[in-house]
């Protein structure tokens, strides 16, 4: 394809920036502390940019636009929830967690409740969440290189896994911290500039254009090259010009696709006339405008109970953020509790600024490039829309920009995740030093690589949403109750982690295996947070109440550490003072 060289160049530049700055960090990263959390006291603005840089993943950069294009504006709940999660984090954990001075969630768990076995259980869920969250990043990389270069899916997965693993094993987070902040700005520019230009080129939005009562139509004659074989679900007969294998016969000329299913093999070229209704790849819901603009999750799916799905997603994303291990580590790098609060406000601003733009791609994709519904590759809308709407060098430059932004997203999020996972293995399970950390990084990267190859067929945001559901059902109750409820015991904490984490993980694995596609089972297994989060809270409370003998001995001093403003603290290492 003509646009490949520029995009590949841009991806290489972003990757080199990451590796070079990571390599520069080697000279200063000498102790395990340096590897795990960069030197403390990062100023709030830079820390906020680093948190946002680490947080905005493949799901945000590519997935949000793709999901909205496919399932409608109700999917805006994903970015809204991703941002609102930081408000919950601010309200419930930001300042106390920093004041407590724990590096990681397992540190917090053992420090607060005084039981090494609780640390082990918490560590297991750090690994589960971290690995789960790596999958959409790897899928994003596989998809991006496939769309840009036509390489098989495993190439992108492999490239990302190798780059990130070697970078982490070499330099740790010391080098990455700086690059994370930079990568936020790369991602913002890479999505904002193309979005604004494309909106200008497309001539804005006409009133009622989105909510008209029919599925999308081609506004101009459109040529579609089918790269991956697809089954089309035709609801309105459409006359096309076909060149290739359709329904097992070779065509080279006019062809009418009647109502029903039609198999189109890869390599086929279909030319749709202006005004034709776009048939959808099977598996994609066919939405009229009214369903597409509705504010519900899964509005277009039959028997999906949209209100319940919407609220379940809200629970998962609002409460999941404050249980993400790789994000919480960053709060330790604030100077004090006040700085942690300021950092969180700035994160909200930075994320809000970013999330204005993915919807632009979804809206323009639906109106101006309905061919995406034909190929079914809705997750690639951000990557392909510049080329679809702007011909020649302009489209190539913008295309290269979004490709670079997408790679920045994969690199920064998977780096942060790998540091957390490797850190949890080395620090919490094996209690080793720098060399153990390096080895754990390689093992963690290899596990991620193998798992990443299996998830090609899942939407990016579905994978991320599941990860949030597990985080919300485990670390959210642990932190909230640990900070605000004096009667929490380690026995109760373990009961809640095991029940909440176990039930949400099982629900998600069943969904991945195809159990419960429709109706209530589909909602409760596919979006489990609505019942697994309350279950975890109730388990922690009930079991703690039943086991008051296991309260930590020095409970009051733990609570002082969490809640006492800095001005009242004795200058003592136990209070997290430098």
């Amino acid at each position: 394809m003509t646009f490949a060289p520029l995009a590949v160049g841009a991806i290489i530049v972003v990757t080199l920036i990451t590796m070079v700055v990571g390599a520069l960090g080697i000279r200063v990263a000498r102790t395990p502390d340096d590897f795990m959390v960069a030197a403390r006291a990062v100023p709030p603005f830079r820390n906020a940019a680093a948190i946002s840089g680490e947080y905005l993943s493949a799901a945000s950069f590519l997935g949000v636009a793709g999901l909205i294009l496919k399932d409608g504006l109700g999917m805006l709940w994903y970015p809204v929830g991703y941002a609102a999660g930081y408000l919950m984090l601010l309200l419930l954990v930001a300042a106390p967690l920093r004041r407590f001075g724990a590096y990681t969630i397992p540190d917090f768990a053992e420090g607060r409740l005084g039981e090494p076995r609780l640390r082990q259980v918490a560590t297991v869920f750090v690994l589960v969440i971290g690995w789960f969250y790596l999958l959409p990043q790897l899928k994003g990389a596989g998809l991006t290189l496939h769309v840009l270069l036509g390489t098989p899916y495993w190439v992108g997965v492999g490239v990302l896994a190798v780059v990130v693993t070697s970078n982490i094993a070499a330099g740790g987070m010391k080098g990455v911290t700086f690059v994370q902040a930079l990568q936020y700005w790369i991602k913002l520019v890479a999505i904002a500039v193309p979005a604004v230009v494309l909106l200008g080129v497309a001539g804005g939005l006409h009133r009622d254009e989105l909510s008209r009562p029919a599925p999308p139509v081609f506004s101009t004659a459109t040529t579609i090259k089918v790269q991956t074989s697809v089954t089309l679900n035709v609801l309105t007969p459409v006359s096309v010009t076909a060149d290739g294998l359709v329904d097992g016969s070779r065509f080279d000329g006019p062809l009418t696709l009647d109502v029903g299913k039609h198999d189109v093999r890869n390599g086929a070229v279909l030319i749709f006339p202006a005004g034709a209704t776009a048939p959808h790849a099977s598996g994609l819901p066919v939405l009229d405008g009214q369903s597409w603009v509705s504010p519900f999750v899964n509005a277009g799916h039959r028997g999906a109970h949209p209100l319940a799905s919407t609220y379940s997603l809200i629970v998962a994303t609002f409460l999941g953020t404050l249980g993400l291990p790789h994000i919480l580590v960053r709060f330790y790098t604030n100077r004090d509790g006040r700085a942690a609060r300021r950092t969180t406000i700035i994160v909200l601003m930075l994320l809000g600024g970013f999330y204005l733009f993915p919807a632009v791609f979804a809206v323009l994709g639906r109106l101006r490039d309905p061919g995406l519904y034909v190929t079914g590759q809705t997750d690639s809308v951000v990557l392909v829309l510049p080329h679809a709407l702007i011909s020649g060098i302009g489209g190539s430059v913008l295309g290269a920009l979004v490709a670079a932004g997408a790679f920045a997203a994969f690199l920064s999020t998977s780096s942060g995740l790998l540091v957390s996972v490797a850190g949890a293995m080395a620090h919490d399970l094996l209690r080793g030093g720098v060399r153990t950390f390096r080895r754990c990084a390689v093992v963690a990267g290899a596990v991620g690589l193998v798992a990443g190859l299996q998830v090609q067929r899942f939407d990016l945001n579905l994978l991320v949403g599941w990860c949030f559901a597990i985080a919300a059902s485990t670390f959210c109750p642990l932190l909230v109750l640990g900070i605000w409820w004096r009667r929490l015991t380690w026995v109760g904490a373990i009961a809640g982690l095991v029940l909440g984490g176990g039930s949400s993980s099982v629900a998600i694995i069943l969904t991945m295996l195809g159990v419960g596609q429709n109706g209530w089972p589909g909602v409760l297994l596919g979006q489990p947070a609505i019942w697994t989060v309350p279950l975890a809270f109730v388990a922690m409370i009930v079991v703690s109440r039943a086991t008051p003998a296991y309260l930590p001995a020095d409970l009051e001093s733990k609570l002082l550490q969490l809640h006492l403003p800095e001005a009242l603290r004795p200058r003592h290492p136990a209070y997290g003072e430098p």
């Binding site: 504006l73 930081y86 601010l90 909510s211 009214q290 509705s294 504010p295 209100l307 909200l348």
Partner: protein, 113 residues
Amino acid sequence: MRAADVVEAGRHSVNSRAFDENGEYRDVLLHSLMRAQFGLTLSFIALAVGVLISLPLVVGLAPSLATRHLFGLPLTLAVLGIAVYPVLVVIAIAYVRLAERTERHFLDLVEKL
């Protein structure tokens, strides 16, 4: 938040015996601070959740609203795509102001002891 506040609270260390190892009011003071902060957190969660979850509820009750337009954009896009983000930031700033005021009052109280 004025810059002066940040500098002041960051540097100055309150001299009080209330939080020495066995200060007699220590636990009472701590519990009152925790209760005040948690009350603030709960009211802000109620506010944020109330604002955010009302849209699906309202449209669930009156489906025709979904096709209405606001500033030339479909309602869902205008609210969930744009308006919600500044609202989140305003709620966050208001919370931090009140949480820090609670802490200042607490410091004043402790200083008097």
